[in-house]
Amino acid sequence: MNAALLWDSLPSVAAGFGVTMLMWLPGLALALALGLVFALLRQYGGRGVDAALGLVLAAVRGTPFLIQLFLLYYGGPLVGIDLDATSAGLLGLAVYGGAYYAEIMRGGFAAVPRGHLEAAVMAGLSRAQTLRRILLPEMALLILPAAVNMAVVLMKETAVLSIITVPELTMVITGIGSSTFAFTEAAFLLALTYWALTEATGVAGRFVERRMAQVRLA
């Protein structure tokens, strides 16, 4: 083990970590927003929209993220989508994550007890009010564990962005590995960092779940 080599490159590792966070957190936010839009479109957009979107999202979920990024970044310019690496990475994360979140949220909507909606109808709430005040919050509560899980998956998928030259953690550390020939140490450090991030996310998720325990579905 040549830990000193890695220690010397700490500043560039820190920069890589920063880029990873800057890809992950905004990518996660976009994925959640896109997932909600997809889920709502499938719910309220009519049969045609539901079927078409269902097919597209299944394709996104059914192909490797790596291939999607490749197609977007290297194939995009051929069809007029010319994005820099960071934008392509963010868009890729948003679409990939959005496809999964759409499915998670669809399940969440379906699991909200019909009776809660009937109670809203009888109380005189409009459809929009019912969606905003009853359906969305209850769905969010129901999907919380699955949503946190997916956030972790997305965090790990940011490593794939190195393939399109986004200077995030994986790219930085593998770069250090090749210039110092300390490949094993670099890979080990890399794994450790992602694992630490995963654990931190898990802790945050469990904290929120505990806070929400009192409002769990009765």
């Binding site: 009776g115 809660h116 009937e118 109670a119 009888m122 005189g124 509560l141």
Partner: protein, 265 residues
């Protein structure tokens, strides 16, 4: 006085299965009407039709003289009334469900306040005062800040009653309000309902609590196979000798003793 709810020839099927056939009945204002009958007899569906949560296939329903959901059209056809019209008629109706159906992410107070704020558009202070008054009415003033998951079934159902009452409906519909409660929690809900009845609230109650029905109802409707087999005041419906069908039903109940005792009322 116009009837609170009037049904004329109401029918309802789920697919090929006919649940209600040619139901005609009235629920009078200021009275308690209880719908009883074996499970599968259609009583819950009938009540849900009265709230337009189920759409009747045929016949007509009037709430306080206004058509619910459908108006008679030319040549015997019927016209589906717009949702806004249905919502307006529903304003006269409060509903209490077997499963309570409280919104789990809101406190008891929040559940009661929600429609006061969003539908009646009351200012916060006024909505809160009215919500608290209605929680007090069901003996839950000290549980305002609790979430549904922190309340017993009986307490949840009383919050649900307060939520409906806060909107000041003229008619309260109860769909088996105690059927998912432990026996020892049933009493507190029935007590609140009894008090409501004494205050003159118009109530239509689907219930398996024959004792409650016998004591509190002015009007009893016994359903069987989607039709009305017997109806009238409890003293008449429970008068002996019981027709075989009613006897078979009543004898299935543990508390048939209550009906026996009160049959001479």
């Amino acid at each position: 006085m116009i009837p609170a709810i009037r049904l004329e020839g109401v029918a309802k099927s789920f697919g090929a299965h006919q649940v209600l056939a040619d139901i005609s009945m009235e629920a009078q204002q200021g009275e308690v009407t209880c719908l009883i009958g074996p499970s599968g007899s259609g009583k819950s569906t009938l009540l849900r039709c009265m709230a337009f949560l189920e759409l009747h296939d045929a016949g007509s329903i009037e709430v306080l003289g206004r058509p619910l959901g459908f108006a008679p059209g030319p040549m015997g056809a019927r016209i589906r009334l717009p949702d806004g019209d249905v919502a307006q008629v529903r304003r006269g109706i409060g509903m209490v469900f077997q499963q309570f159906n409280l919104w789990p992410h809101m406190t008891a107070l929040g559940n009661v306040m929600e429609a006061l704020r969003l539908v009646l558009r009351l200012p916060r202070a006024e909505a809160e005062a009215r919500a608290r008054a209605n929680l007090a009415r069901v003996d839950l003033a000290n549980r305002a800040g609790h979430y549904p998951a922190q309340l017993s079934g009986g307490q949840q159902q009383r919050v649900a009653i307060a939520r409906a009452l806060a909107l000041e409906p003229r008619i309260m519909l109860f769909d088996e309000p105690t059927s998912s409660l432990d026996p020892e929690l049933t009493g507190e809900v029935l007590r609140v309902m009894r008090r409501l009845a004494e205050d003159g609230m118009t109530m239509v109650v689907v219930t398996h609590e024959i004792g409650f029905a016998a004591q509190v109802a002015q009007h009893l409707v016994f359903l069987e196979h989607g039709g009305i087999a017997l109806s009238g005041p409890p003293s008449e419906v429970f008068r002996r000798p019981w027709p075989p069908r009613l006897a078979g039903f009543l004898e299935g109940y543990l508390d048939r003793g209550a009906a026996l005792l009160l049959s001479g009322r």
